[in-house]
Symmetry: C2
């Protein structure tokens, strides 16, 4: 396949192999323990046309390193709960925290190739998923993850021998899978997409190492040495100061300023419309539920902008069993030690259920940008990461809608003061709210840039005119109804 | 059913209802916010013969309280990943952290009753699961959870009306479920087990409130008032000092002292047996995998007792895809704010996979007891909680094996000193290890009590003679093999 036919495969003598093992194992264990206190994780991707060889390598890694700090996952056919989410959901969910090693067998390289080879992917789908794979790997590397990719390759003849031997070995035959002989029979046919996939995903930040699998000892030594060198190398790397980001002088359209905050509704009109749209959203959610279609609603906005009240008007119209509301506060340690999008991937709903985020992944490009919790580099690349994330939700049939609850600075002050005297709302106002208020202009710049860069047809922003609470609530309800109707094909 | 036929059902006038709402809602929101900083959680169980009414109540709770801090779960038929675990796994997994409210619809009361009514349970099973339900509720209450149980009850005639109205209502008909009419048709037949279940689970620590569901306003007011009063009452309760536990003077058999630590194996014998048992355990694990049978192996022991080395000899014989090793360190905040068993429930494997715990739930009755991290009351009741937990694993077809790696105090010192000079092991020895060593006698007392109280036929303890590492490793491997063989019916 990737090894030239007829070429001598690489080999190592048993003596030579055994001479190298003791030191290699000590090095690996030491590297692994040094890793436990490091602020990054290691992700090893194992794939190949030699599935049995790949399994052997996974065993070897767990044998020579400390299995307690390795999260091994061999990704076969997706389980029920995985089928109901975007394709990459299961890979995101299984990501190791800092200090640990994730060992992924098969995973996206094999899962994407299988769909291509089995005819489930047209050319365009194949290319799209190759791009997604590259984006995912790039995201992880950007986040500090050390990504190591190994392709274990066997020439056709050697593969046949491997399968025959495995069938005869009582200790191995039971791991034989239906498709193992299939891979052999369609060897030449499969070679082409594999070559394309590997070339397209052999990137500088996450290069492939192609390993000839004919000689098991050679294969294991090569892979294990590479893992050791990569971890040790990375641990010894001086921590480079983050390059000062080139903040462009670009200014973005004033999406917030363009909103007419004078709009309002009378109490009577409000009551009528509230009733109308709550009934409508209830009926539409039923149809979405039956169609296995999941709304993902993201609420952002100024402090006291009315997120809570808006969410309540919406959820009051929905059956409790059909949605969850996820309030986003400071990340927990489990969340902090992974890519910042991990905590949002976790909460994606099953098909037919809705999820409502009260504050969202946009914290990265607003509060984290302004307060310096994210470096310039981090928040600047976040726009692409977010667009890619939302794109995958839309692709899986989720309806992504994003709201910025907009009010004037004067209206905010009025609300803060009103809250301070309202019995059951006073817990809502803290000194931090006043501190945030002083940064109103910084937020305006950040929000306008955010909207300009992430307002997409499949995941649009809606800036809600919020000075009049009644107007805002009907606006949100109507927007959700209209989007659901369009998505369900009623228009 | 539980409401006497012919009796006037309880009602409330619309005016009376509406007069009470505003204050009630303010109270509920305030109680909920005070709860956010409390060190306990609230669990509301909703059940009844009026499923549609129960759904309405769930909506109402989410409407009148703040849905962001309520985790609502309606437990229908179990999903694939739930079917592969013990029956209560999904309830444990969904438990809210401190400060939050869990709203469980149906859950164990309905799931157990459904199995009884559908003939899946014999009398004995029904009684067993009633006991389990009581134990679970008791465990949660002991852990500080406020458990509130509501049974929404409709007389037969009212149920018929409810179903007819629901069928005609375009906004509700879609939530109609197949079994809704079934419940009506078999009304009298179902009444009997329901009565039995409710009586048997109406405990002082988690009493049922039976609510007549004929009048929706009456029903909601009664439930919401009860929730408010219970949360407010609990928040205002003075924190009682933990009662000094009556430590019994009982001494337990010296299980550790009974072990012959002189046993050893020659290097040659060891190599032979290691090879033999590793092959055997590999083959047995294959059969367990095919049978959907999951070993749960718990390793405890003295510091430097050899847990790591033993686990490694075992996992080296297993395919990496078939097991996980879970190292247990200090709990994360997410774990700390739930019942201490929650973090172990989380890691239970799918059918056919093995899980190996490196340190376990027995920390509660050893290190937590000795260091005072658990109160006397907490560690003393833990024996029952643990027995119940392991019983449920065994019942689901899991093979529970527990090892105490035993060495002499002198051998421990030798190992500490050896580790301090071995390059790749020195990270393993800290001052804490020496501090623990000083408490050798306390640990001996605790371990002997632990073994006496939790050594059960379905989850036996094995005290491993560990002074000779070779002997210990073969002992563990052989024990696992023998237990697997017995379980798979080869003997």
């Amino acid at each position: 396949m990737l090894t030239e036919p007829g070429r001598d495969s690489e080999k190592i003598s048993k003596n030579e192999f055994e001479a190298q093992i003791p030191q290699l194992r000590v090095d690996l264990i030491n590297a692994q323990y040094d890793l436990t206190t490091a602020d990054f994780s290691v992700l090893i991707l194992l794939a190949g046309n030699d599935r049995i060889g790949v399994d052997h390598v996974a065993d070897r890694i767990n044998e020579w390193m400390d299995a307690r700090y390795i999260n091994t996952r061999i990704f076969g056919a997706p389980f029920e709960e995985e089928q109901q989410r975007p394709r990459f959901w299961r890979y995101w969910n299984a990501l190791p925290p800092h200090g640990r090693t994730g060992l992924y067998g098969a995973a996206w390289p094999i899962n994407i190739l299988a769909d291509k080879v089995n005819g489930n992917f047209k050319k365009k789908d194949f290319e799209r998923w190759i791009n997604r794979a590259n984006s995912l790997e790039q995201d992880l590397v950007n986040d500090g993850t050390l990504v190591l990719k190994f392709w274990v390759d066997l020439p056709r003849k050697a593969l046949k021998e491997r399968l025959k031997t495995a069938e005869k070995d009582p200790d191995r035959a039971w791991w034989m899978e239906e498709q193992d002989w299939e891979v052999f029979k369609r060897y030449n046919e499969i070679a082409k997409p594999v070559k394309k996939y590997i070339e397209a995903t052999d990137t500088p930040h996450a290069p492939w190492m192609i390993v000839d699998g004919t000689d098991g000892n050679h294969r294991d030594l090569k892979i294990m040495t590479t893992i050791r060198d990569a971890i040790v190398g990375r641990l010894n790397e001086p921590v480079a100061p983050a390059p000062a980001a080139a903040i462009s002088g670009t200014s973005y359209p004033d999406a917030l300023g363009a909103v007419d905050l004078q709009q309002s509704l009378s109490k009577k009109e409000y009551k009528q419309k509230l009733d109308k749209y709550q009934r409508r959203v209830h009926r539409l959610m039923r149809r979405a539920h039956e169609a296995g279609f999941s709304p993902v609603l993201a609420f952002e906005g100024w402090d006291a902008g009315g997120k809570g009240g808006n969410i309540r008007r919406l959820t009051n119209a929905l059956p409790a069993r059909s949605y969850s509301v996820i309030p986003i506060a400071a990340p927990t340690p489990e969340e902090k030690s992974r890519h910042y999008l991990w905590r949002f991937w976790r909460h994606l709903p099953r098909a037919g259920n809705a999820v409502i985020f009260d504050r969202t992944w946009y914290g990265r490009v607003t509060v984290e940008r302004i307060e310096g919790f994210a470096t310039d580099e981090q928040w600047q690349r976040a726009y692409d990461e977010i667009n890619d994330f939302e794109d995958q939700l839309a692709e899986r049939g989720m309806l992504v809608l994003k709201f910025w609850l907009h009010i004037s600075k004067a209206e905010q002050l009025t609300r803060f003061q009103a809250r301070e005297v309202t019995d059951y709302k006073k817990h809502k106002i803290t000194d931090e709210d006043y501190r945030n208020r002083e940064k109103w202009d910084d937020y305006t710049v950040a929000v306008n840039e955010m909207i300009a860069k992430t307002n997409k047809p499949h995941a649009p922003w809606h800036v809600v005119p919020g000075n009049d609470k009644r107007f805002a609530r009907i606006y949100v309800l109507k927007t959700v109804c209209d989007a659901l109707e369009r998505a369900l094909g009623e228009r």
